[in-house]
């Protein structure tokens, strides 16, 4: 079979061709929206036109078969129009109000997870993990599934003080937005990488490898034409492994995940915030990482019970103080919590006022 004519530099298809007519007609002229249920909302245009959105959860890792099923539903209820959200949920774009309830009914019948709109837990941003990435220090999809099963009702029903954005990163490269999430899981190594001198000499750019280390723990070793790592200085970031494969960072015995909390993205009320370390380590515990799931649920519950309406996790913690966060959640405070890197100065307590 001869191949069709190949093109380059055409860029993505123009979005316009995928917009439902009501959106095209009211583009930039929306007046307000209303959240009708945890999984449905309506946007009303200045013209009075309406577009209904029905949101369902997605594992993000989708088979073509599942995509086709979703397409079927979109055709049945939405003239074929659908979109995905920036957090990988599926949104059915219903122009005909009367089709909303039947769509929702069919979705629920087919066990789709309708929800995620408004002040609740939405989909978990995550990345490849053992499914596809050589850098993975844990599996992302499995942790996500385990957490979402447990927090399911926070997606489909329950209300929280505000949105809670959860993320999972399968290594410190942090391909998601873990560094600014309300609650996030990030996989971490805990052992100095093992250097295969022979292959480092053959396969690696030594200056690049030396330069890759954030703590200057790496020095060239002229004798072996390889490198040596100062064990005192190494904090297991794996950046050397990224640029030089024969430096092996994975250690299935001692790899695992940390939990960070209190980040946010939006500039509402308070500035965007980085997530901060809450729990430094759990061993990898597939398939369901039960301790990780429990810990997250605990944090979420304490937040739900203590935060004021509209307060994000980080805003609540900053209002009550981190010392209070540790007390309320019962999380142990360890040496790992104390910053000894870039932000050390910025994070140590420089005030005589604090809570006991």
């Amino acid at each position: 079979m001869s191949l069709p004519e190949r093109k380059t530099d055409i860029g993505p298809p123009h979005y316009e061709q995928f917009l439902p007519p009501v959106i095209k007609n009211n583009y930039g002229k929306w007046k307000y929206h209303e959240v009708l249920s945890p999984g449905t909302m309506v946007h009303v245009a200045e013209s009075g036109d309406e577009i209904y959105t029905v949101r369902v959860g997605s594992p993000r890792l989708l088979s073509t078969s599942s995509i086709r099923e979703i397409c079927d539903l979109a055709e049945k209820y939405c003239d074929g129009y659908l979109r995905f959200t920036t957090r990988n949920n599926i949104e059915f774009l219903v122009s005909d109000k009367s089709k909303v309830d039947p769509l929702v009914a069919e979705l629920k019948e087919k066990k789709y997870s309708v929800g995620g709109i408004g002040p609740r837990v939405s989909n978990i941003i995550h990345t490849q993990g053992w499914v596809h990435c050589h850098s993975a220090c844990t599996d992302a999809s499995g942790i996500v599934k385990a957490i979402m099963d447990e927090l399911y009702e926070y997606f489909t029903e329950k209300t929280l003080p505000n949105k809670v954005r959860i993320a999972v990163a399968c290594c410190v490269n942090m391909c998601g937005a873990v560094h600014c999430s309300d609650i996030a899981v990030v996989a971490v190594h805990r052992k100095v990488p093992v250097v295969d001198d022979e292959n480092v000499a053959k396969m690696c750019e030594i200056p690049t490898t030396v330069a890759s280390c954030p703590t200057s723990a790496i020095r060239p070793n002229p004798k072996t034409k390889s490198i040596t790592i100062n064990e005192e200085k190494c904090m297991y970031c794996g950046n050397c492994f990224t640029v030089c494969p024969p430096i092996q960072i994975h250690n299935p015995e001692e790899d695992g995940v940390a939990i960070v909390v209190g980040g946010k993205i939006g500039s509402l009320r308070t500035s965007p915030k980085f997530s901060k370390l809450a729990i430094p380590f759990f061993y990898n515990d597939p398939p369901r990482w039960p301790k990780v799931v429990d810990a997250i649920k605990n944090i979420l519950n304490v937040y739900a019970a203590n935060a004021r309406k509209h307060e994000r996790v980080g805003e609540w913690v900053e209002r009550v103080g981190w010392e209070e966060f540790f007390k309320l959640t019962g999380i142990e405070f360890t040496f790992q919590h104390i910053d000894d890197f870039t932000f050390m100065r910025d994070t140590l307590r420089t005030s005589a006022a604090f809570k006991f």
């Binding site: 123009h14 930039g28 594992p59 997870s113």
Partner: protein, 397 residues
């Protein structure tokens, strides 16, 4: 063709209400013309679950002719045990701005993918691409020919411009101050060469959000973050304010007391805003969308530099241009972006992101190179130590 491996651990993850990726992998084997790929993916993943170790080699260097990016080469480190995934490359298709599709378009993507790949996808990748997960080296050229002939192009990878992405913006949001989708699409088209042929010191990402809610997380994970805002006054509909109050909203506690600048007041059922003091944070507007609206003089704030924690801790993007107009054809924006990239490209070491470069060189040379004056909006607070540089030009004053 599924069921090649016993997967007791993964099968656990088919239980529970949330949709299961394990089920998806199993389903993929049903429709793909190469079912052995998803099968072996499942088998290897089960092995990872039992040994707690991944089995992928470092990223490979495959691609399509004429492009330096868009494909992530991937090889199993156990090709004999799992031959179906000896090659298991991902293809990044550049998503349409805003992630809008028709069923028809998506089916086309699926059909081609079933022909050349594993039947597994990510909708979407973290950067925004429509990620096709798992194909072989020999399938890359035909696959690209089919996709490109049907209007789909590859996204970015490597030391290049990365696929820009954006929030839904004006398509379905009443708060969009800029046409995020149009800007995203325009920038993507404008930088096609930079996107496909890596020639930068490292990756460069662009993300566009229509307002300070920042629904595409631009401020945290884009070298160039474009965020919509306005200059004039928040539009207030006092009748709607009253309705919120009647519906039981505690306007004083939920809105006025949470305004970060305390520039609001609520008296006699009316909201008043001292707009000169408003920081346009979006809190009040987002919680009272029927009553409050952004102003009419719209544009964007340009921020630069966010990234993940490697090497010395994450960065959030820094305000560079507090306000810029954003109207098609966006010449000013393109021009500014080009200057930003040029300075970075001229000065960065390999694997140095622009945020890191600015940190290394200081704001001044960067701002001078792109022709932006110093402004208090660029800082949260002025410097705290008395150690500051003077240029020869400062003495002439």
């Amino acid at each position: 063709m599924s069921g090649k491996y016993k997967t007791p651990l993964l099968d656990e993850l088919e239980k529970g209400p949330w949709p299961s990726f394990v089920t998806e992998i199993k389903k993929a084997a049903q429709s793909s013309s190469m079912p052995q790929m998803a099968d072996d993916e499942l088998g290897q993943l089960e092995k990872s679950y039992s040994t707690r170790l991944g089995y992928w080699k470092h990223g490979g260097i495959v691609g399509v002719l004429g492009y330096g990016g868009g494909v992530i080469g991937r090889y199993s480190s156990l090709p004999d045990e799992f031959p179906g995934i000896a090659h298991f490359h991902t293809v990044r298709l550049n998503q349409p701005s805003g992630f809008f599709y028709t069923a028809e378009a998506l089916r086309m993507v699926c059909d081609i993918w079933d022909k050349y790949g594993s039947g597994l996808t990510n909708l979407h990748g973290s950067t925004g691409d429509l990620v096709l997960l798992g194909t072989t080296t020999e399938n890359l050229e035909p696959l690209f020919a089919e996709y490109s002939s049907r209007g789909w192009d590859l996204g970015g990878s490597g030391s290049a411009m990365r696929t820009p992405s954006c929030c839904v913006g004006m398509a379905r949001c009443e708060w969009a101050n800029i046409d995020a989708m149009d800007i995203c699409n325009t920038m993507t088209q404008h930088f096609q060469d930079e996107l496909h042929r890596p020639a930068f010191p490292y990756k460069f990402k662009i993300k566009v959000s229509g307002c300070a809610c920042d629904c595409v997380a631009a401020i945290a994970r884009a070298d160039l973050s474009i965020i919509g805002t306005w200059k004039d006054n928040i539009q207030i509909d006092q009748a709607e304010v009253k309705k919120y109050a009647d519906a039981g909203m505690d306007i004083q506690a939920e809105i006025v007391d949470m305004c970060p600048t305390s520039c609001m007041s609520y008296d006699n059922g009316e909201i008043k805003i001292n707009d000169a003091q408003c920081a346009r944070c979006m809190h009040c507007i987002s919680k009272m969308t029927k009553a409050l609206k952004p102003g009419k003089e719209k544009g964007a704030t340009i921020l630069v530099g966010s990234k993940a924690p490697i090497v010395v801790g994450s960065l959030l993007s820094w305000v560079i241009v507090p306000f810029i107009e954003c109207k098609p054809p966006y010449d000013e924006l393109k021009d500014l972006t080009e200057k930003i990239i040029e300075w970075w490209d001229d000065n960065a070491k390999p694997r140095e992101r622009i945020g890191e470069l600015i940190e290394a060189k200081g704001m001044r040379p960067f701002l001078e190179a792109i022709g932006v004056p110093p402004q208090p909006q660029q800082v949260k607070e002025p410097r705290k130590d008395p150690f500051f540089f003077w240029a020869e030009s400062d003495f002439k004053k």
